[in-house]
Amino acid sequence: MQKAIIVKNLTKKFKDFTAVDNISFEVSPGEIFAFLGPNGAGKTTTIKMLTTLLHPTSGEILLDGHDVNKDQDSARKSFGIVFQDPSLDDELTAYENMKFHAMLYRVPSDTKKIKDLLEFVELLDRKDALVKTFSGGMKRRLEIARGLLHHPKIFFLDEPTQGLDPQTRNHLWEYLINLAKKDNITIFFTTHYMEEAQNTAQKIAIIDHGKIIKVGTTEQILKDTKTNSLEKAFLKLTGNSIRDEDASGADRMRQHRAMFRGR
């Protein structure tokens, strides 16, 4: 069976710093794949390359068989994404955000499909409310619904549960697991909650200093590291030191944003 994601010898250099260093991995269709690593390990850079936002220095990425660099539009059609920062238009309604997405991806923007998805994430009754009135959890749910609108084969989620309460988090994972089962959608996500990865992912990759240091099922990883939880295994593999990262432009803006919106 064709793999959903194939990454071969992927490298990204920024000047003399190697953010991602010759990594390779594969994800099967319908698999829930957790991509873990400390801050600055290369997670976000990898996700950006997988989703065509950043060009690799070298290496190859195939999404559902489409080369991300050579066949960009087909590759883009094959995935949906929920970014770490919300990418909704606050001044538009939930419904309008969905409709614009459908038009961008040239899928029929018929009302039924949009309503079904909004129903799925339990936002149908708020469909005509402006997104700026939504809570963080509601926005995340809306983004999930939006990302599914064009029937993607692969769904990327960059820290989807960050800043959400346990109730919302559990709820969210219920949708996602259900989705992977029902529609055979491949889910690729990053998180800092090890428990979450342990509970939901069928396969886990741990990246540090730009290199993948471990790939496997939770059981394999626990066995190899002789630990009893993923958190302990993670710390054993990546060490206990705290990673300091220079703030990027995005981080600085995130701070401004937090100041102005009180988040």
Binding site: L54, D89, A250
Partner: protein, 247 residues
């Protein structure tokens, strides 16, 4: 085409919903119009230049367009990180169509804003040639497109809002003050006249003023030609820079 339309529609929908922003952005042009109009009007008249409102009206219209258009463009610094623009960057659409949609959307808003200011000037003593309004709107559209594209080009190069103040003080304000929006270009010192001649907005102000009042320095043909060439150039440059955006 559909992408261009969606992005344009998005800008207009947002604009129509933000009444506070519309009213807020009228404050500055209104202040210039009233304070300078009433304040310098008598001096202007004594110097034998006629009604200052007649002169200032087009300048203030151009000013509101300049600020609205540049803001609309610059806004993508934010939008590409926290907004809908980020979602369009991973969608199966060309960067060129995103850039054009965004430019046309911002330009439409800037022109609408210019038209609102134009209507306001009518109440304080601006008497334009009504028949020439369509011609004036063409000039408004041209500078709207030009400056939105300038904003987008700058925003494509910037990582965060840090440089924003710099751009306001060293680009946008000088563009306005050196454009001949507030003073006649005739009889200026030679060097200063040259500086004014290098400012793209000068031709926009002159074009709007020329069509509405018949008073022009460069001539409407030159105004149009200069703006048209510069707009074409900046659209190409902006599209190139925008296509290079990586996050």
């Amino acid at each position: 085409m559909q992408t261009i339309y969606i992005l344009w529609l998005r800008e207009l929908t947002r604009y129509s919903r933000s009444r506070a922003r519309i009213i807020g952005s009228l404050g500055q042009p209104l202040l210039f119009l009233l304070a300078l109009g009433f304040g310098l009007g008598p001096v202007f008249q004594k110097a034998g230049q006629g009604s200052y409102f007649q002169f200032l009206g087009p300048g203030v219209i151009a000013m509101s367009i300049l600020f609205t258009a540049i803001f609309a463009g610059i806004q993508i610094i934010w939008d590409k990180q926290f907004g809908f623009l980020k979602e369009t960057l991973v969608a199966p659409v060309s960067r060129l169509s995103i850039m054009l949609g965004k430019t046309l959307g911002g330009a439409t808003i800037a022109t609408l804003q210019g038209i609102i200011v134009f209507v306001l000037t009518l109440f304080v003593g601006f008497h334009p040639n009504i028949a020439a309004i369509p011609l004036a709107i063409i000039f408004m559209l041209l500078i709207s497109i030009f400056f939105t594209a300038v904003g987008i080009s700058i925003a494509s190069l910037l990582e965060d809002m840090q440089g924003f103040q710099l751009i306001m003080n060293f680009l946008v304000q000088p563009l306005f003050f050196l454009s001949g929006a507030l003073f006649p270009i005739n009889n200026l010192p030679k060097v200063f006249e040259m500086v004014v001649g290098l400012d793209p907005l000068s031709y926009g102000v002159d074009g709007i003023r020329g069509s509405l009042t018949g008073l022009t320095h460069y001539g409407l043909g030159i105004d149009f030609l200069v703006l048209f060439i510069m707009t074409s150039f900046i659209l190409v440059l902006g599209s190139y820079l925008f296509s290079k955006i990586q996050l």
